[in-house]
Symmetry: C2
Subunit: 332 residues, 2 copies
């Protein structure tokens, strides 16, 4: 515990993120001041939203600061406490950043049970991505039994939960993912009814075949040409939860969506949303998801990068879709 | 009453409608069979949605048939009745088509009061366009006092009511229209707080100046570049009612909307809608609007083409934005 390795934001990227946009430093481990806790980070979460924080464009959250540790959710153990709600030995999840040791005044920090589900699950299926899936599907799409639910980035941390929740609602769950192995995972391990590989180049035809009754709910994580194609297959009175546009995050020229007419003709509701707007739903979702994971009713996979110094490379790989399931960094 | 002049659909246009896509014929005036009424048409309504009915592309209603009278709402007087709910002398509004005399079995026909407001108003401000404005704004956007409401095609039959309803809700009403005279009309006669001429070529800057607090509700009639620009100015948690995409109706290549990201970042709700889906709202809206029109609380203008034979030219002019307010044809 001599030094605190940190990954700082070095540059604001335009287009694709480079490893040189980050800088790895070692600083002294800080000490907890009054009301603070010092957390030793075990797992760092890597999520697509972080790409937005690297830029200064208008977004729903403040950008990360140049020269400061990258922002990010993490799980760790309280190793020093100077008052407040947390005690040494508590396991917590919160926005601790890309570093080995983090100070916190307790704001936004949640105590977690390391026995009920594995620690890392609180960053994925039983954490923010899981709650995102829950909110977008159950609150905004409100699927009814027998309807067809389509989700893009289906094998990812959010999409994999969307499909399983859709199945629990009695829906036909159809995924869209990049590559046959991701699709096989979605169908064979997660129980999706079908999954379409958009890289095969026949997205419209394949999706039409996978959705013989059209699409009633669409959970959108990627945007771009995938969204444009899905729009053509939406049913009357369908609902689209707009959760992410990962295909746009790294492009300097955003894709032009041509099938807006489907929203009118089919009386579609499109709802952009961010999970943190609804903390009431968040806590309820996490409770339910933790229960379902502990019962084995919801399954998940993780892709783990070893060591904080590998976080930049893993993050870039995730933006390119190289991970399967939740992308994590094992920090300790 | 020797002949029934009719405007038939002759061809399905691609791109801009031509007068040659219609054919004017004279047929014998039909006789009312059992349960039917014969209606002498006084006013024919011309509306942008009719462009969709001329094509076979997927839409929310069946296309018009080649060789049959064009579909359309009209107001007229019952001149023969062979049973049913209507009597000779009743004034009615319904889908009577582009013709001088129409048979009806009474389905979808509404009796109207020719004294309370002028007959033609039942095709505009106190009819389908008025109910469309009411539904999109009050049901789907739900503006709160002090919010900014923007509507495109602001001087049209729908847009002009949207702005006046927004003012009645205590909102700032901002129009978008093509040309300074339409904008002057919206502000001086209809009471809009501001109106931006998109043809002036500075839509983003002018709209930003007209909406110093951003945009909370957007009522969309035109789509295309106008929609793409408005998206950039939406506030967090804003609502967009998608009512029409008139800029796309005549183009063979639909516009690509690039600012979808705003829907995500600002957690926007976009709701496509069609007024006829909600007849419960429709009847309530018509009742309210008729009252407000009769009290002078809602104002309107009409552009009138004289004679059914001029309906095709007037329709094409309306699609090009040559009308001010509601486009009508005086048939008798």
């Amino acid at each position: 515990m001599s030094a605190n390795k940190q990954v700082l934001l070095a540059n604001r990227p335009t287009g694709w993120v480079q490893e040189s946009d980050f800088r790895i430093v070692e600083t002294p481990v800080p000490q907890a001041g009054p009301g603070q806790v010092l957390v030793k980070v075990h797992w760092l979460s890597l999520d697509p939203y972080m790409r937005g924080r690297m830029s200064t464009g208008k977004s729903y959250a403040k950008p990360a600061e140049i020269g400061q540790p990258m922002v990010g959710g993490a799980v760790g153990e309280v190793i020093a406490s100077a008052g407040g709600r947390f005690q040494v030995g508590d396991f917590v999840v919160g926005a601790l950043g890309w570093q080995q040791y983090a100070l916190s005044n307790g704001e936004g920090l949640l105590r977690i049970d390391p026995v009920r589900v594995p620690l890392s699950a609180y960053l994925g299926v039983a954490g923010m991505p899981g709650a995102t899936a829950w909110t977008g599907l159950l609150e905004h799409c409100q699927p009814r039994a027998g309807e067809t639910v389509v989700v893009s980035a289906a094998s990812g941390a959010v999409g994999s939960v969307v499909g399983q929740l859709a199945r629990m609602q009695g829906c036909r769950a159809v995924g869209i993912a990049g590559g046959q192995s991701k699709c096989d995972y979605a169908v064979r391990e997660l129980g999706f009814d079908a999954c379409v590989d958009y890289k095969a180049g026949r997205l419209y035809e394949d999706l039409q075949a996978a959705c013989p009754d059209g699409i009633d709910c669409y959970f959108e994580n990627v945007g771009g040409a995938v969204m444009d194609t899905v729009l053509r297959l939406l049913n009357p009175f369908s609902r689209m939860a707009l959760c992410g546009l990962i295909s746009d995050y790294n492009s300097t020229e955003p894709y032009g969506v041509t099938n807006i007419r489907s929203i009118l003709v089919n009386r579609v509701k499109v709802q952009g949303f961010i999970v943190s707007d609804r903390m009431d739903i968040y806590m309820r979702a996490i409770q339910q998801l933790t229960g379902w994971v502990s019962q084995g009713r919801i399954r998940y996979r993780e892709t783990v990068a070893e060591g904080l110094e590998n976080a930049p490379r893993a993050f870039i790989g995730m933006l390119r879709g190289e991970n399967l399931g939740k992308q994590l960094v094992r920090v300790a």
